[in-house]
C-alpha cells in the first residue's frame, strides 16, 4: 500500500502546487515559471524551523513558512505589474535560476547541493505522522482545505474579478476595480499554497535538496496545469495525479533498456505537443 499512499501524498502536494500555479497562470494571467522556487523556500523554511536548535512544532513552522511565501510570492510577481507577457516569462525564468543558485550555493542555510537530511516527521498535537498512511490523511486534509478555498474564492466575486483581469485589465479598472490589489491577492494566495506544499514535501521526504525545486519542477507544474486544465478545480487535481502517474505507466512500454529512458521522455514530449495541438484546454479545463 505504501506505494499507492506515497503516490497519493506526492500527488496531493502537487495538487496544492497546481492550485497555486493555476491561480497565478491560469486565472490571474501572471505567467510565472518560478513557482518551484517559492515551493522550495516553503520546504527549506519548514525544515529550518523544525530542525533548529530550539525547534518549533509542525503547525507553527507551517504558518510562518506560509506567511513568508506569501510575502515572497508577492515580491516575485511584482515585476509582472511592470513588464508584461513574454518579458515577464523571462524575468520569471531568471528568478527561478537565481533561486536555484541560492539553494545550491548557500550551504549554511540550505545544506547546499548536499541537501538537508533528517527533517523530522510532523507531530499534530501529540499525534505523530510517521507512517505513509497517516501522511495520506494529513495531506488529504491540506489538499482538501486548499481545494475548498480555491472553490470558494472562484465562486465568489474575487473569482469573477480575476477572470475579468485576465481578459482585460483596462476594462476592469474602468469598471472601478483595483487591478493591482486583486493581482497581489492572487499572488499572495498562490504563495500560501506553494509554501504549504513545500512544508508538507519537506517533512514527508525528510530530505530536501535543490533538485526538487529547479526549473524542471516549475515546468512540470505548468505542464500539470495545462494537461489537467487551466482555471478549474478539477484541472488542478487531475493534472498532478496524471503526470505523476505517467512515468510509472510508461515503464510498461517495452523498450530496450539502453534507450528506455530517453524514449520515455520522448513520449512525454510528444504527449505535450499532441495536447497542445488537439486539446489545449486540457482534460478538464477552460481554454487557455
Amino acid at each position: 500500500m505504501d506505494f499507492l499512499f506515497s503516490y497519493i501524498v506526492l500527488a496531493e502536494i502537487y495538487v496544492l502546487l497546481g492550485l497555486s500555479t493555476n491561480l497565478l497562470v491560469g486565472i490571474a494571467g501572471i505567467f510565472s515559471v518560478s513557482q518551484a522556487a517559492v515551493f522550495g523556500v516553503g520546504a527549506y523554511l519548514v525544515a529550518h524551523f523544525m530542525m533548529a536548535a530550539d525547534p518549533l512544532s509542525f503547525i507553527p513552522s507551517m504558518l510562518i513558512a506560509a506567511a513568508c511565501c506569501v510575502a515572497l510570492n508577492i515580491l516575485v510577481t511584482l515585476p509582472s505589474l511592470r513588464v508584461s507577457g513574454d518579458y515577464f516569462v523571462v524575468t520569471s525564468f531568471g528568478i527561478q535560476l537565481l533561486a536555484t543558485a541560492v539553494f545550491t550555493n548557500w550551504a549554511q542555510g540550505t545544506g547546499g547541493a548536499n541537501g538537508l537530511p533528517g527533517i523530522p516527521p510532523p507531530d499534530l498535537f501529540g499525534w505523530p505522522v510517521e507512517t505513509t498512511g497517516r501522511y495520506v490523511l494529513l495531506c488529504t486534509l491540506f489538499a482538501g482545505l486548499g481545494c475548498l478555498a480555491f472553490w470558494l474564492i472562484m465562486r465568489a466575486p474575487f473569482g469573477r474579478l480575476v477572470r475579468a483581469i485576465r481578459e482585460d485589465e483596462t476594462a476592469v479598472a474602468a469598471a472601478g476595480k483595483n487591478v493591482l490589489r486583486a493581482k497581489v491577492s492572487a499572488a499572495a494566495l498562490a504563495g500560501a499554497f506553494a509554501g504549504t506544499a513545500g512544508g508538507l514535501y519537506a517533512t514527508f521526504l525528510s530530505f530536501i535538496d535543490p533538485s526538487s525545486f529547479d526549473l524542471d519542477a516549475s515546468i512540470l507544474l505548468l505542464t500539470m496545469v495545462v494537461v489537467g486544465g487551466a482555471r478549474t478545480l478539477a484541472g488542478s487535481v487531475i493534472g498532478p495525479f496524471l503526470l505523476l502517474a505517467l512515468p510509472q505507466l510508461l515503464t510498461l512500454v517495452d523498450i530496450p533498456t539502453t534507450i528506455a529512458a530517453a524514449a520515455r521522455q520522448l513520449i512525454y514530449g510528444l504527449l505535450l505537443i499532441v495536447f497542445m495541438l488537439f486539446r489545449p484546454q486540457g482534460l478538464a479545463g477552460e481554454r487557455l
Binding site: 478555498a149 470558494l152 474564492i153 465562486r155 465568489a156 466575486p157 474575487f158 469573477r160 474579478l161 477572470r163 475579468a164 481578459e167 482585460d168 483596462t170 476594462a171 476592469v172 479598472a173 474602468a174 469598471a175 472601478g176 476595480k177 483595483n178 487591478v179 486583486a182 491577492s185 492572487a186 499572495a188 494566495l189 477552460e286 481554454r287
Partner: protein
C-alpha cells in the same frame, strides 16, 4: 457656483503630436452632451484624461468642485464617473450577467480572505448583487441574454451591455465612446431610447458620436473639438448648421 464637470486647460502630447491643446469646457448636470469633431481631434484622449487612464501634461479636471487630478481610474469611478470604450472591451469569456457584476462596486468576497472565511455571507451577498445586476440588464433590455457568453451576443447587444456595465458602477456621469457606431437601425433606436431614459433617471451623459442624426436627436449640448482644442460649443442645430465647422468636419475626415 462650480460647474458639474469642469475641464480646464488640458494639454497633452504623444511624442511630437499635440493631441490636446488648452482644451477647456464644462458640462451641466442632467444633460446629454455630445463630443464631436473629425478623427484625431482628441475626443478619446479627453475621455482617457477625465477617467484617469492618461495623465495630461497640463491642465486639470474637477467633478462637482472636487479635483480629479492624480486619481487612479478606479478612484474616479468611485467618485462617480464611468466610461465605455469605443472597442467595447467586454469580457468575452464571461456571461453578460458576470460582465455587469464586475461593474458593481463594494462587493463582499472580492478579497479572497473574506470569501474563504465567510462563505455563507459571501453567497448571500452574491445573491443580492445578482438581483441588482439582473435589474440593470433588464433596464437595457438584455435580461434574456443574462446567461449567455458575451462572444455569442450580437454587436448591438454588446453595445447595450457596455452601457449596462457602466450603469452597474453606480456612476452618475457616464462617458460613452461612440455608443451608436456600427449599429443597425433597430439597434440604433434601442440605444437612443436607452440614453434618453438614463437622462430622465438623472444621469448625466458625455457622448462621443459621429452620426449627426444621432447627435441631433439626443444632444442637449454639443462640444466641437478640433486639433485638441474646443472650437465651438452650442446646441446641435447651431453647431451642425455652421458651415465653417462642417468644412472642418468633413474636410478633415477626407
Amino acid at each position: 457656483m462650480t460647474a458639474y464637470l469642469q475641464v480646464d486647460g488640458l494639454d497633452h502630447r504623444f511624442g511630437g503630436l499635440r493631441a490636446l491643446q488648452e482644451c477647456s469646457f464644462t458640462i451641466e448636470q442632467g444633460r446629454i452632451t455630445c463630443l464631436v469633431g473629425p478623427n484625431g481631434a482628441g475626443k478619446t484622449t479627453i475621455f482617457n484624461v477625465i477617467t484617469g487612464f492618461l495623465k495630461p501634461d497640463q491642465g486639470s479636471v474637477a467633478f462637482r468642485g472636487r479635483s480629479l487630478d492624480g486619481l487612479r481610474p478606479q478612484s474616479i469611478v468611485h467618485a462617480g464617473i464611468a466610461r465605455t470604450f469605443q472597442n467595447l472591451r467586454l469580457f468575452t469569456d464571461l456571461t453578460a450577467l458576470d460582465n455587469v457584476l464586475v461593474g458593481i462596486s463594494g462587493q463582499f468576497g472580492e478579497e479572497p480572505l473574506g470569501a474563504i472565511l465567510r462563505p455563507m455571507h459571501t453567497a448571500r451577498a452574491q445573491a443580492r448583487r445578482r438581483m441588482e445586476a439582473m435589474q440593470t440588464l433588464e433596464h437595457v433590455g438584455l435580461a434574456d441574454r443574462a446567461r449567455d457568453l458575451v462572444r455569442n451576443l450580437s454587436y448591438g447587444e454588446q453595445k447595450l451591455l457596455t452601457v449596462a456595465r457602466v450603469l452597474a458602477t453606480g456612476a452618475e456621469l457616464l462617458l460613452l465612446d461612440e455608443p451608436a457606431s456600427g449599429l443597425s437601425a433597430g439597434a440604433l433606436d434601442a440605444i437612443m431610447s436607452l440614453l434618453r431614459r438614463l437622462q430622465n433617471e438623472g444621469k448625466t451623459l458625455l457622448v462621443v458620436e459621429h452620426n449627426t442624426r444621432v447627435v441631433q436627436q439626443i444632444a442637449d449640448d454639443v462640444l466641437f473639438l478640433h486639433q485638441g482644442h474646443l472650437m465651438a460649443q452650442g446646441t446641435p442645430e447651431r453647431i451642425i448648421s455652421d458651415p465653417a465647422l462642417a468644412e472642418i468636419y468633413f474636410g478633415g475626415a477626407l
